[in-house]
């Protein structure tokens, strides 16, 4: 927005036309944003608002019987041991998958960023293909690949690493590990692209200067690359944390939160209470409350990240992160 300059001609026709043009430009801006805003309001905004309403009620989601219960749903959630188990599993999943994703993707991006590498585009495409696959289909196929008579066990037993096949997704000790590995594989490509974008903002002169000064690759990486990509690294970290906390389709199709809640995360917990039941009816209100509870956690993490990001920006770019 340009600063309005106070001139003797403010009240004249020239100033009025300027204002009119400005308003017309703003009008077009609103027009172009409008579709996005409308869809956002309908498909993200409204569900968020109505979620608050449902969370305060006892409602099955099916029958017309809806009753106001205030904060009772939240109290029930706090007392449910299995909600906290799912909560802990969500964070376990996040702590297992995010470092792997960040570091592996950075490594691959560094290799692909080298201008001397031939066929870099081919490799980039290959790494990116898992990202564009549908998570639920991937999940279903992985059940067969990682099953007790699947390809993974075949490879490991033929290579002599395993004596008897392990049911990776059906064994309570290995299920979380397996799910993390598959999630990392699926999202590696996306992170690689983010890192590549970050690496390409590093000015070439810095590298040339370092080479002239006689720095080897490791020192170049630590003292030049890392500080330069740190800000974008933080953004990637935030995106990965939020994404891994919201994982749903992969876990639902591979293990449904099993075996016996070993891979149950908050999203599968919510789905279970919202849509399934054995003898009673589902509990949409309770599930909505669980959703809000978890959303608070994610928002808190986001605020923390934004604050850290702000602090780093204030201390100036290129300096060491204190």
């Amino acid at each position: 927005m340009e600063n309005a300059v106070l001139t003797p001609e403010s009240g004249t026709a020239a100033a009025r036309t300027r204002k009119k043009r400005l308003r017309s430009v703003q009008g077009w801006c609103w027009l172009f944003i409008a579709p996005n805003l409308i869809f956002y309001a309908m498909f993200q905004g409204w569900p968020i608002v109505i979620n608050w309403y449902y969370a305060l009620h006892d409602w099955s989601g099916l029958s017309s019987d809806i009753q106001y219960v205030g904060l009772q749903n939240f109290k029930d959630i706090i007392h449910d041991m299995y909600f906290w188990k799912a909560y802990a599993n969500s964070f376990k999943f996040m702590l297992g998958s995010v470092p792997l994703l960040l570091l592996l993707a950075l490594f691959i991006a560094l290799v692909l960023n080298n201008p001397k590498l031939r066929g870099a585009t081919v490799y980039r495409t290959l790494y990116f293909i898992p990202v564009v696959t549908t998570a639920s289909i991937v999940g279903i196929i992985m059940v067969y690949i990682w099953g007790s008579d699947g390809a993974v066990n075949f490879l490991l037993t033929s290579a002599g690493i395993l004596k008897t096949p392990v049911n990776w997704l059906g064994d309570a000790n290995w299920a979380m590990f397996t799910v993390i590995i598959i999630y990392v594989w699926k999202n590696l490509g996306m992170n690689m692209i983010y890192w590549l974008a970050g690496l390409q903002t590093v000015p070439r002169e810095l590298y040339e200067a370092a080479r002239v000064d006689g720095a080897n690759s490791l020192r170049t990486f630590i003292y030049i690359t890392v500080p330069q990509i740190a800000p974008i690294g933080l953004v990637i970290l935030l995106l990965n944390i939020a994404g891994s906390l919201k994982v749903f389709d992969l876990i639902k199709t591979m293990t449904e939160g099993g075996p016996f809640y070993a891979t149950d995360v908050v999203s599968t917990y919510i789905y279970r209470y919202a849509f399934s039941s054995e003898m009673g009816l589902p509990r949409m209100g309770y599930a909505s409350a669980a959703g809000i509870f978890f959303a608070f956690t994610i928002v808190l993490i986001a605020i923390l990240q934004a604050w850290i990001n702000g602090r780093i920006n204030k201390s100036g770019k290129g300096g060491r992160i204190s």
């Binding site: 029958s63 998570a135 099993g258």
Partner: protein, 500 residues
């Protein structure tokens, strides 16, 4: 811009970035479910053609059903049938959203775990009475239409799919018996023998086949097995309510229950379970059993039809569930056939739907073929006697007559009890989930878990009864207690009368 405003807009930008970068929407809208029903909102109105939408999960008779539809459409060229078959979970999610958007199929069954009277109250179904005549009603066996099961307030809303039989008898593979040196005509009778047989078969298999396979992913299968097998030991557990008929409490940690757990724990420890068990569903287990990959499978009568059609070379027999060492103290719970298909309240073609039902039940194709294929027993009079040929199905039926007894149904005694079920909040993990955890090795001490489950179940059930009372239903805990119940006798209409 002022610094505070800048941080605020940065924060806003960051938050919206999370929102927009999400690959999957935050609200699990069930959009991954195969919505078999495609674009049809125009329920067919061009040139007198009527489109009838039917949806269910009866996978065991799919090919017969498709043939039935073909014959039906040849007989009535102005009616086009759009049949969608989903899995039982998919169906529940899909039909719920379909009803809420007024896009429900014309004919669809009551989803599992839901009570007909609750759905009638919520205007899911309309009565069939205006469209069916006495001739139609009289072709069904006695007890098909009862207030509380298929009727609500004296009106018929639903018809059962087939005669309800318990679903946890044991099928065994005769070929694998022989290879393990066991006599295929002498299946095991006790828990110890069962465990021993399974172990011998696993040893003989050397990794090619195992003693027992199950659809471990489906916790409802574990739960049914637990209830029905422990009932033989006297637990009084059944699927009609959480309350045990024996103890009048939700007792899920009785000796009979613990004995079943002991057996399955032993089977798991012996390595007799097929390694795929925990990651497959029941239909997959059924297919693997048919490929000679396991000696035993605990399943229902509908498997007979599937195997006789798809795996004619499979040599299998059916046996009663094994008994605990302490002997038989009860019976397998047998319930009256429950509500299945109903007519949508918003259906625009009730007459055509009734025609469908007339051909489905009264026609000369579907019911006879279904019984002949060995899938199930019909609720239509005279069909079973004439067409039940498959020896395994007959054997299944005979075993049920021998070991099963009809149990009381609280909804027949007092239809208002449905209100308790709509207030009831399931307790998780339930006994079926605990059993699957024990088999998967994820839980070592089930006694504690079961005791806690029984306690939580009691609290949840009492709250449900109180809540139902609070909303005006005329119920009490006593409606679920049947003092004149004898575990070794059928519970008949005389017994219901004697209660009053």
């Amino acid at each position: 811009m002022k610094p505070g405003l800048r941080t605020f807009t940065q924060l806003l930008a960051v938050l919206s970035l999370i929102q927009m970068s999400a690959c999957s929407p935050a609200a699990p809208a069930g959009s991954d479910n195969a919505k078999g029903n495609t674009s049809s909102d125009s329920k067919g109105a061009d040139n007198g053609q009527v489109v009838l939408q039917v949806m269910d999960w009866s996978d065991s008779v799919k090919s017969l059903r498709d043939e039935f539809h073909k014959k039906f459409m040849e007989k009535y060229p102005n009616i086009k049938i759009e049949y969608t078959q989903l899995t039982v979970d998919q169906f529940k999610n899909t039909v719920i959203t379909a009803v809420k958007t007024n896009d429900a199929p014309d004919l669809f069954p009551v989803p599992t775990g839901m009570k007909l009277s609750t759905l009638v109250k919520d205007k899911w179904f309309q009565p069939l009475d205006p469209y069916i005549d006495d001739a139609f009603k009289n072709q069904f066996i006695d007890g098909t239409f009862q207030n509380g099961t298929t009727m609500v307030d004296g009106k018929i809303y639903s018809i059962p799919e087939a005669m309800s039989l318990p679903s946890t008898l044991v099928f065994y593979n005769k070929k694998l018996f022989r290879e393990a040196g066991l006599d295929p005509e002498k299946p095991p009778a006790t828990y110890a023998e069962f465990r021993d047989y399974a172990q011998k078969i696993t040893a003989a298999g050397k990794g090619k086949y195992y003693g027992i396979i199950e659809g471990g992913k489906q916790s409802n299968r574990w739960l049914s097995t637990l209830r029905e097998w422990s009932s033989l030991g006297g637990s009084g557990l059944n699927g009609n309510s959480p309350v045990s008929l024996a103890t009048k409490q939700p007792t899920y940690d009785s000796q009979a229950v613990l004995d079943v757990f002991g057996l399955f724990k032993g089977l798991a420890k012996d390595g007799s379970f097929h390694p795929k068990t925990m990651s497959i569903s029941a239909p997959e287990a059924r297919a693997l059993f048919a490929q000679d990959q396991a000696g035993f499978i605990i399943q229902g009568a509908w498997n007979v039809g599937v195997w006789n059609k798809d795996n004619p070379k499979l040599e299998y027999g059916v046996m009663a569930p094994p008994l605990p060492e302490s002997g038989r103290k009860g019976s397998i719970p047998v319930t009256s056939s429950g509500a299945w298909i109903g007519l949508s309240a918003n259906s625009k073609h009730p007459k055509e739907a009734a025609l469908y039902l007339k051909e489905f039940y009264g026609g000369d194709f579907f019911q006879p073929k279904r019984v002949e294929s060995g899938d199930s027993f019909s609720v239509v009079k005279g069909v079973n006697e004439k067409y039940a040929k498959a020896p395994q199905l007959k054997a299944y039926y005979d075993i049920v007559q021998n070991y099963g007894r009809m149990i009381p149904d609280p909804s027949v005694r007092n239809p208002d009890t449905a209100a308790v079920f709509s207030e009831f909040k399931d307790v998780h993990p339930d006994a079926g989930e605990i059993l699957s955890a024990v088999v998967a090795g994820a839980m070592k001490d089930e006694k504690e878990a079961l005791a806690q489950y029984s306690k939580q179940l009691g609290t949840a059930w009492n709250s449900a009864v109180e809540a139902a009372k609070g909303k005006g239903a005329k119920v009490s805990g006593a409606d679920f207690e049947f003092p004149n119940w004898d575990p070794m006798k059928n519970y008949t209409s005389e017994d219901y009368k004697a209660l009053k």
